[in-house]
Symmetry: C2
Subunit: 343 residues, 2 copies
């Protein structure tokens, strides 16, 4: 026992009268240990309350069965569900998940990646593809199997498990245009370092262009993530552009914020203005009016990411990106454009 009063493998060996090798075998490959010996060791372990030291184990064995995930934030539900599925999938493959968050800050993300690698993560889950070459090379050098989720980028050296944000967003923009909306506002998450936000925004631009709506009829605000931010952006948008008949939001949280402020301002949705989201998280279902949005298969994405990563780690197999598909969820908040500009 050391000063911290923690039993080590040596203590267990001594107490049960066997060698350290046998104790180690008992822990890792019990079937290779004689039943009688097994019982002795087992008893010693429980009497001492022994727990193998993870660090020592990793050092000696070079395998951690740990995989790390770095997500932009824990403070919202967007990643929660997918992550939960990811965790469950990993668990089935015998991996433990460790989660760290980057607060949407690339430097912190890099720090977290390094920290996870230093901790011996056998693989990594990252969100999106926006990150600098240096960290990609770092991952390659360390040969850390990595997958990027919530995004799809065939040109990245990291395989994706996700959906095409551009295509996905076009679904709902098309729907809005079909409803006759021609003056459109966008509340987007910050597009810097965020390929998801950028592609969604591009989808709006592109779709309007294709359908011959002048860029002048498009007003964009980028803002931080959050309900209150969505509310503020909404108010600003309609104050400056009273002719807007639809506000497309980059995610459900912003949309719900917009919805809330609309209600506070006595603006009827969708009669006077339509509002749409993206992600299809619970908050959109319970909002009033309920939110029309783009459904993202969060759980399927998490599971698929777990599968792929497990495969990459155990087989070192050639991998392929997994594309998932989104679908339109039309609820109440999207309706026909009002015809007169004044409400």
């Amino acid at each position: 026992m050391n000063q911290k009063n923690i039993a080590t493998l040596v203590d267990v060996a001594r107490r049960s009268g066997v060698s350290t090798a046998t104790v180690s075998r008992f822990i890792n490959t019990p079937e290779k240990v004689n039943k009688k010996t097994r019982d002795k060791v087992e008893r010693a372990i429980s009497e001492l309350g022994y727990v193998p030291n993870f660090g020592a184990r990793v050092m000696a064995a070079k395998r951690t069965n740990t995989i790390g995930a770095v997500i932009p934030t824990m403070e919202n539900a967007i990643f929660a569900r997918g992550l939960q599925a990811f965790q469950e999938g990993l668990h089935d493959h015998g991996f433990t998940l460790l989660v760290a968050s980057s607060s949407y800050n690339p430097d912190i993300e890099e720090e977290q990646i390094r920290s996870l690698v230093a901790r011996g993560a056998d693989g990594l889950l990252l969100i999106g593809h926006d990150r600098n070459l240096k960290i990609l090379e770092f991952l390659e050098r360390h040969q850390i199997p990595t997958v990027a989720a919530w995004s799809l980028n065939p040109h990245s050296r990291i395989p994706s498990v996700g959906f095409d944000n551009l295509t996905a967003m076009r679904q709902i923009v098309d729907a809005a245009l079909d409803y006759g909306h021609r003056h459109i506002g966008v509340i987007s998450a910050h597009t810097k370092n965020n390929d998801r936000a950028r592609e969604r925004l591009n989808a709006v631009r592109l779709t309007l262009h294709e359908r011959s709506v002048s860029p002048e009829n498009l007003s964009i605000i980028e803002t931080d993530y959050g309900v209150d931010e969505g509310s503020a952006a909404f108010e600003e948008l309609i104050a400056q552009h009273p002719s807007l008949t639809a506000v497309i939001c980059g995610n459900d949280v912003l949309a719900v914020g917009a919805l809330k402020r609309a209600r506070e301002l006595d603006i009827r949705v969708p009669d006077q203005i339509s509002i749409t989201g993206f992600d299809d998280i619970e908050i959109g279902q319970v909002a009033f009016p309920s939110l029309s949005t783009v459904h993202v298969p969060h759980r399927a994405m998490g599971s698929a990411a777990a599968e792929l990563l497990a495969k990459m780690i155990t087989n070192s197999a050639p991998y392929r990106s997994v594309e998932l598909h989104t679908s339109l969820v039309l609820r109440e908040s999207l309706g026909p454009a009002r015809t007169s500009v004044k409400s």
Copy 2:
């Protein structure tokens, strides 16, 4: 370099022409290294893309600057905000947070605790006080500073950073009674292994008792966590007990589910029935009608937990529990009891 092509401290030492001790010092206490040496080492490190091996480091130094948290689930917002604050607080003290989730399963929680300890966590954040003696003794034996949040229990050997769930819940039950409600339904989270849920439920029973409302006028359903579960429970409750005028929910998510189902059933809230929540998370603000609930200072709790834990780790100081206070948030979903039993 080993087979995995990863530079070690020895490689760095060789490349920069100094000893391993110096490299180690450069990393841990750069001020003890001569400027010129520092530059050499720095260059070697960046050329090699060296990252210290965490496991080795822990083994040699016995300190990880890591603290672990085990939360019941990632799949909801209740813990997210507090955890984010916790993480930020820890970061200021130089600690890294690792999060694991237990899916509300005590066995998994225990497994996660052990895993975190084996990984060398310097401290632990747990939710609530319900856990068996064995794991508490394990933590004591390993001398792992631990705090329990979201709950308050002066009798536990683990200090708390949280609020008294009983007192907190009484606030809103009192409010409901003040509004004249005498037939009350409760949608509670499962109370097994969950002291928060149990105390909140007790609060209802106790308050009714004190205010002379017959226990027969109280109907309780326990259910899993989730919006849909809340909806189902609500429907069941009012089907079986049409005389109910208020439904008290154990948390906001269940309450929002109830709210949603009420709307779907064309039951007007609060005119025909009142619904209350607990936690004050965003979803309650955007729900319609907006949710009357009990505000929990999530961020303050997270910060306070970080402070306390940091203090316990660095000072090994005598600690004291931190009590936080909740407050009533009266929004739209709670109103006067309807007078006629039929709507």
